[in-house]
């Protein structure tokens, strides 16, 4: 069973870790590029803060998704972490990413609530204006 030797498993897991981590990095980078392009469009067309907040919300979602991938790579890495030092470093990175994911999710929730509140206020104001005019 040579293909199940420790070295073979370690190599396979290492390849998987690199793949998943690269996917996370690509997602984060894509989120930044998309946000930057949308920023360019918004800067020319509309100049409202709420529009930029929506783009930031989407960027935050992409960052959270990228973080999930990076966390997955950390979990994979625990399969082969022979030394105590490597495990400690892994734990530190995983802890940072988990805490970040928590804060990012909270931030996204707050931003979403704020956008919903702004939209409701704008709708109410428009309705009041229409009623006053009618």
């Amino acid at each position: 069973m040579g293909f199940l030797s420790e070295d073979a498993v370690a190599t396979f897991v290492d390849v998987l870790v690199r793949l998943v981590e690269t996917a996370g990095a690509v997602i984060i980078f894509s989120g930044c590029v998309i946000a930057f392009v949308r920023f360019l469009v918004l800067a020319v067309r509309e100049r409202r803060v709420s529009s930029f907040t929506r783009v930031r919300l989407d960027l935050g979602r992409m960052l959270a998704l990228g973080l999930e991938f990076q966390l997955a790579s950390d979990v994979l890495r625990t399969a082969v972490a022979p030394t105590l030092r490597e495990i400690a470093e892994l734990a530190a990175v995983a802890a940072i990413r988990t805490a970040l994911n928590f804060f990012l999710a909270r931030e996204i929730r707050e931003e979403r609530e704020e956008i919903a509140r702004d939209t409701a206020e704008r709708d109410t104001a428009q309705r009041d204006t229409a009623q006053a005019a009618g």
Partner: protein, 95 residues
């Protein structure tokens, strides 16, 4: 993705964040919005750097950047909330 490529990409993200953050602040005339925009890009760059298999010092640096970003973001949200809520009216004089 090699560490060198990752560093270059992270640097590009920081540059894009600086540029667009300043532009958002100018276009919307809301410095806080621009700063939050910049901080999001800095967070993305920090996350990209955090993925690098570097030394513990590099890891600590990336973590510190991310922590600073979180603290600054929290401060900004508090500041925005404080600015949004009107100051309480002074109590009416008692008869």
């Amino acid at each position: 993705m090699t560490d060198a490529v990752r560093d270059v990409v992270a640097l590009g993200v920081v540059a894009a964040g600086l540029l667009s953050g300043a532009a958002v602040a100018l276009v919307t005339r809301a410095p806080l919005a621009g700063l939050q925009w910049l901080l999001d890009f800095l967070l993305a760059a920090g996350l990209l750097r955090l993925g690098a298999t570097g030394t513990p010092t590099a890891l600590a640096t990336a973590a510190a950047i991310v922590a600073v970003r979180q603290v600054a973001g929290l401060g900004l949200r508090r500041a925005r909330a404080a600015l949004a809520v009107p100051a309480p009216e002074p109590p009416a004089p008692s008869p």
